[in-house]
C-alpha cells in the first residue's frame, strides 16, 4: 500500500516535471561553471582539474537539491488537497500516517534520482574530460548530502502543516538564515550576544556542523567523525520535524474540493 502511494507520488512528480527541471537546472549551471575550466584545460593541455571546480559543482548541486527538497516538503500533501486527490485517497483503508509516509517515500525516490543524476554528471565529467579527485569519503559525503535534503524536506513538510506552501518555503529559508544570525552574534564580544548566538545556533540548521564540500575535497585523508556528527545532527532534526508534520497532518480536517 505504502509503496503504491510512493510510486504514484513519484509518477505525479515526474509528470509535473519537477525533478527533471531541477536536474536540468543543476546540469546547466554546473556546466556554465565548469565550461571555462574545460576550455582552459583544452588550451593548456592540462587535463587535471583542481578541487575548486568540483567544489563549485557540488555547491550548485546542493543548492538545487535543497530547493527541490524544500519544495517537495512544502507541497507534500498540499498539492493533493488542492487538486482533490486527497479525499479519494483518504477514503481508502489507509491510516493518515501511511498516506504521508507513502507520499514522502515518493519524494525520497525523487531526491535519490536527483542525487544520482548529480553523481552521474560528475562521474561522466571525470571519465571523459578530467581527473577530478574522488576522495574515499565520497559515499559518506553523499549520505550527508541526502541527509541535508531530508532535513529541508522535513522542514518544508512541517511548515506546510501550518502555512501555505509558499509561506512554508519562505519560513524554512528564514530558519536557515538563523545560522547566519548566530554567527554574527557569536562574533560579538558582549556576553549576552554570545548567549543569544548560541541559542540561535542551537535552533538553527547549522551547516557548520556538517562536513563542508571544501574539507572533503581538500583533505587527503578526510576525518570521518565530523561527517557522522553532521549526519546525526540532521537526522535528529529530520525525525523531529517529520514527526511533527505527521502529528499535525493526523489531526487535520480537510474541506471538500469546491467545483
Amino acid at each position: 500500500m505504502i509503496s503504491t502511494i510512493a510510486l504514484h507520488k513519484l509518477a505525479k512528480l515526474r509528470h509535473s516535471r519537477m525533478i527533471l527541471i531541477y536536474i536540468i537546472g543543476c546540469g546547466c549551471i554546473s556546466l556554465l561553471t565548469i565550461l571555462p575550466v574545460i576550455l582552459m584545460g583544452v588550451v593548456s593541455g592540462n587535463r587535471t582539474v583542481g578541487a575548486d571546480t568540483a567544489l563549485m559543482y557540488f555547491a550548485f548541486a546542493r543548492f538545487f537539491g535543497l530547493v527541490a527538497a524544500l519544495m517537495l516538503g512544502a507541497t507534500l500533501w498540499r498539492q493533493d488537497e488542492k487538486d482533490g486527490t486527497l479525499l479519494t485517497f483518504m477514503a481508502r483503508p489507509l491510516s493518515r500516517i501511511e498516506l504521508l509516509v507513502g507520499k514522502s517515500l515518493g519524494c525520497l525516490y525523487a531526491l535519490l534520482i536527483y542525487l544520482g543524476a548529480v553523481v552521474a554528471f560528475y562521474m561522466i565529467a571525470h571519465l571523459l574530460f578530467f581527473r577530478f579527485s574522488i576522495p574515499l569519503s565520497f559515499p559518506l559525503y553523499l549520505i550527508q548530502e541526502l541527509q541535508f535534503y531530508l532535513v529541508y524536506f522535513a522542514a518544508g513538510a512541517f511548515f506546510s502543516s501550518l502555512l501555505n506552501p509558499l509561506l512554508a518555503a519562505t519560513a524554512v529559508l528564514g530558519w536557515a538564515f538563523l545560522a547566519l544570525l548566530a554567527k554574527i552574534f557569536l562574533s560579538l564580544s558582549p556576553a549576552w550576544c554570545r548567549v543569544l548566538g548560541k541559542g540561535f545556533r542551537f535552533l538553527s540548521l547549522d551547516s557548520d556542523i556538517s562536513y563542508s564540500v571544501q574539507a572533503l575535497f581538500t583533505a587527503d585523508i578526510p576525518t570521518v567523525m565530523p561527517l557522522f556528527k553532521g549526519i546525526t545532527y540532521y537526522l535528529l532534526w529530520s525525525i523531529l520535524l517529520f514527526s511533527a508534520a505527521v502529528v499535525l497532518f493526523n489531526r487535520r480536517e480537510f474541506a471538500g474540493r469546491r467545483s
Binding site: 479525499l87 485517497f89 483503508p93 480537510f254
Partner: protein, 310 residues
Amino acid sequence: MTPALRFDNLAKTYRERGAGKRALNGISFAVEAGEIVGFLGPNGAGKTTAMHVLMDILFPTSGSAEIIGLDSRDPESRQNVGFLPEVFAFDGFLTGMRFLKLFGSLSGRNLDLVAAHIPELLAFLDMPDAANVRIKNYSKGMTQKIGLAQALIGDPQILILDEPTSGMDPIAKARIKQLFIKLRSEGKTVFLSTHILSDVEDIADRVAIINQGELLAYDRVSSLLAANKRGFKIVFAGGDAGLPSALVGCAISNDSQGRTEVSCPDPKSRDFALQTILQHGGDIISLKTLGGSLQSQFLRLMHQEGLSDD
C-alpha cells in the same frame, strides 16, 4: 446484526472565526446492511459533512459515526467501503486504466481480478474507450463516471456516494439506478445523497431527510409516502349531464380546457368516482395520488408545501 453505517448523536461544528458553523446538530440513525438508503436535504443541510465524518476527512465535534461497528476514526472501518466525493477530481495524467488499477490495488483486491473487471466496468458506464485516455481529457460526466468506477473497483460491501449521478446523461443515470438495484441484490449497501427525489423514490428502501443539521425523518420510503397521502385527484373529460350530481362525496371543479377535476379523500370514494365516471360515459385522463410523491413529502418537511405540484 451490526448495521452497515451508524450515526450516533453526531454533531459537527466547523471551526471558523467567531461562533463557528454548526453543520450537524446531533443526528442519529443506522443504515442496515443490504439496503439502499437515500440521504436527502436541501443545499447546506449537512449531507456532505456527515459523509466526510464517515470517511474520517472531518472529525466529529461530539457523538460518533461507525462503519460496520468500527469507529470512523479507525482506518480499518474503510476496509470494505467505496466512496465517491461530491466533487470528484484526480491527477489528470493518469489514464482511466492506470487510475482504476491504482485504486484497485489500494483497496487490497487481487490485481488480476481488478484488471479483468475494468473493461467490464467501463463498458457498463458507456465509456469503453476511456481506459486509455487521460483523465484530464475526460468530459465532466466521464470524470464523474470514473469516480464512481473508482468507488466500485474494490468490490466493496458498502458504497457511500455523494450525488453520484451529477453531470451524467439520462442513459447513465438509468443504468446506475439498475446498478444500485443489482448491488442490493448482492447484499451490498448503498448510501447515497442526491437531489433527484424521483430516483430515490423508485429504488431506495429508506430515506433520511436532514435540514440544517437536524434529522427530520428516517423511514421506509413506503411509510413516508403513506403518511403524507392526502387523497386522490381524477381528471376526466366528457360524460353525460347527470355525471356531476352523481359524484357524491367528491369535490368537483372544471378547468379551462373543458376537463373536470374530481378530488376524492380516500380509496373508497376514489373507486366509486371512477366507476361513476365510466358509467356516465366519461373519459378518464389521469388519476393521481395527492401527496404521494417523495417530492411532496420532502417539501412538506421543509415547510414549502406551496411549491408542491399536487
